[in-house]
């Protein structure tokens, strides 16, 4: 790598953000973010819209650059002034992501969606990755859809393909950016169940979601964000039963009543 971003020895810490600040023009979107995620940990981030939670996960894989602070993810250490394309590529070959809008490649079949990254990005042999892709498709319950195009699938199926696509890059960490927010209600559960089974298998996950029941069942730690900062961090039981800050109490009151 041409930058001073270096690969350090593997540790139990998969991602660490230190004093990260980000501005969109003059708008201060992330404020002094300090966050550490260990291997195998499931972290759920919630908060009102515009609180910076999506920006935070998109910073973890450098989709969003930041202006201050240090990011350490999957053994790659990047400072605010060291965010290069090479660094972003290196991070993204170790971190998977699932988007709110699925972002499947519409001109490719499901199988091609799963294999294009490993084949052309990481140079993995075609038959090897196809075998893996079929395994992951089976795992998300879509083994008979491999040759269909995304437009032929329901929203829930598309999002499960997106999860399988992320898995095919063999990530050490998967980021979920509101994965169920644009799904019809009856399809939310199939996606949540897929994510839950991933969690029980020990995948490290950072999930931005409004699904509080999911957070309660699956998370090791829940983070509440508001106005670009982390307001409260707690294990799910404490988080939902004994919220400390007034902001979180108000938020939970609004979210859980319905």
């Amino acid at each position: 790598m041409t930058t001073s971003a270096t690969i350090s020895a593997a540790s139990a810490t998969i991602a660490r953000m230190q004093g990260i600040n980000k501005w969109y023009d003059s708008y201060h979107a992330l404020r002094d973010i300090d966050l550490q995620v260990s291997s195998g940990e499931r972290v759920v981030i919630c908060g009102p819209s515009g609180s910076g939670k999506s920006t935070l996960v998109r910073t973890v894989n450098l989709l969003e650059p930041f202006q201050q602070g240090r990011l350490h993810v999957c053994g790659i250490d990047v400072g605010a002034d060291e965010i290069t394309r090479a660094a972003r590529l290196a991070v993204n070959r170790r971190v998977g992501m699932v988007f709110q809008q699925f972002n499947l490649f519409p001109h490719m079949t499901v199988l091609q969606n799963l294999t294009v990254g490993p084949i052309w990005g990481s140079g993995i042999a075609r038959n090897e990755i196809q075998e893996l892709a079929h395994r992951y498709l089976e795992r998300v319950g879509l083994m008979d859809q491999a040759d269909k195009y995304p437009a032929q699938l329901s929203g829930g199926q598309q999002q499960r393909v997106a999860i399988a696509r992320a898995l095919c890059t063999r990530p050490q960490l998967i980021l979920f950016d509101e994965p169920t927010a644009s799904l019809d209600p009856e399809m939310v559960n199939e996606v949540l169940q897929t994510m839950e089974s991933l969690a029980t298998e020990g995948m490290t996950m950072i999930v931005v979601t409004h699904e509080m029941a999911f957070a309660r069942r699956v998370a090791d730690r829940v983070i509440f964000m508001d106005q670009g900062q982390i307001i409260e961090t707690a294990p799910p039981d404490d988080f939902f039963e004994r919220p400390q800050s007034q902001r979180l109490k108000t938020f939970l009151g609004q979210v859980l009543k319905h």
């Binding site: 894989n61 989709l63 394309r85 972003r88 590529l89 993204n92 070959r93 971190v95 998977g96 992501m97 988007f99 809008q101 972002n103 499947l104 490649f105 519409p106 001109h107 294009v116 990254g117 490993p118 052309w120 990005g121 990481s122 696509r165 992320a166 095919c168 890059t169």
Partner: protein, 363 residues
Amino acid sequence: MSTHFVRQALIDPRDAPVAAPIHWRRALFPTPVIGALSLLLLALFALFGWRFLQWSVVQAHWLGDSSEACPGEAGACWAFVIARWKPWLVGNYPSDQLWRAWTCFAAFALFWIWVVRRSRAASLQRVLLGFVLLPVGLFLLLIGGGPLPVVAPTRWGGLLLTLLVTLATFATALPLGLWLALGRRSRLPMVRWLCGAFVEGMRSVPLLAVLFIAATLLPLFLPSGFAMDLFWRAVLAFAMFNAAMAAEVFRGGLQSVGRGQREAATTVGLSDFAALRLIVMPQAVTAVVPALVNIMIAVIKETTLLSVIGVSDLLSAVEIGAKSPAWIGEPNILISGYVFLAVIYLTVCYGLSRYSRRLEVRR
């Protein structure tokens, strides 16, 4: 009455009722005013149609080998068309080598039939490749060399030349336009600026001016000893002008691919270049194929400008024919040639436009 309704038996789907076709009387005369307008238009149409029929069939002259076959101004002079059509198609191509010209037409027709009849848009890349490879192959065949005697481009003409200039323009303007469109999105300011200046400059100048520059000014700037055929200079002008047009089309196509696609490509580990090649470009090109076909239609029509700088395209071939000693006579001779020309252009361009419409509907 209860407010709680529960359906006991589900309703099976039924066929939709067949809508009665709209009666012509209701379509043409729904109100008195529109009815009067319809009548007026029908009358005009009938009058013009009758006049044209009179001119083109009833009073037309069909046989003969000189202007004496078409006395007076009243009717069309198809004898002129029938006697002269061959050079209009192939120009001055040597008559003992004409099979090469006919092969070109056949290859073009076969390619076109294959394009139109292919079942799915999946072979799009191959079609575009055909647009680039076909003219190269046809050029080699027409120019000759090796076992084939060399025929200089100055001897090509007529429809053959029109088609070749169109294809050659396409073969060069498409890749160049794509590079220009990508260049305008480059991270390097100089590249961005140069590509933008070229595209905007070309778009702001009439094609005729570009052609004149290529025909008269360009030779002055070329290094001495490096002569460039007028034909090639004309193709160069067409290529540059239409590359700017294609660049704008491609730019729109590239913009139509959302940011989410590029982000997803990044997160599966694709480099920026791989993302462009595998994710963005295929979607962008598919989106703009109808617009590219429209550029092709425009190019075909623009080739008539070649006659102005003295390259013998289809239009000038017809005009030269009307000036030949045997056919100097009444204006209806030249007019008949023009009508014939119009029919050829109409057939080719309408076919293309139908094709582009079909591509639009299919997506």
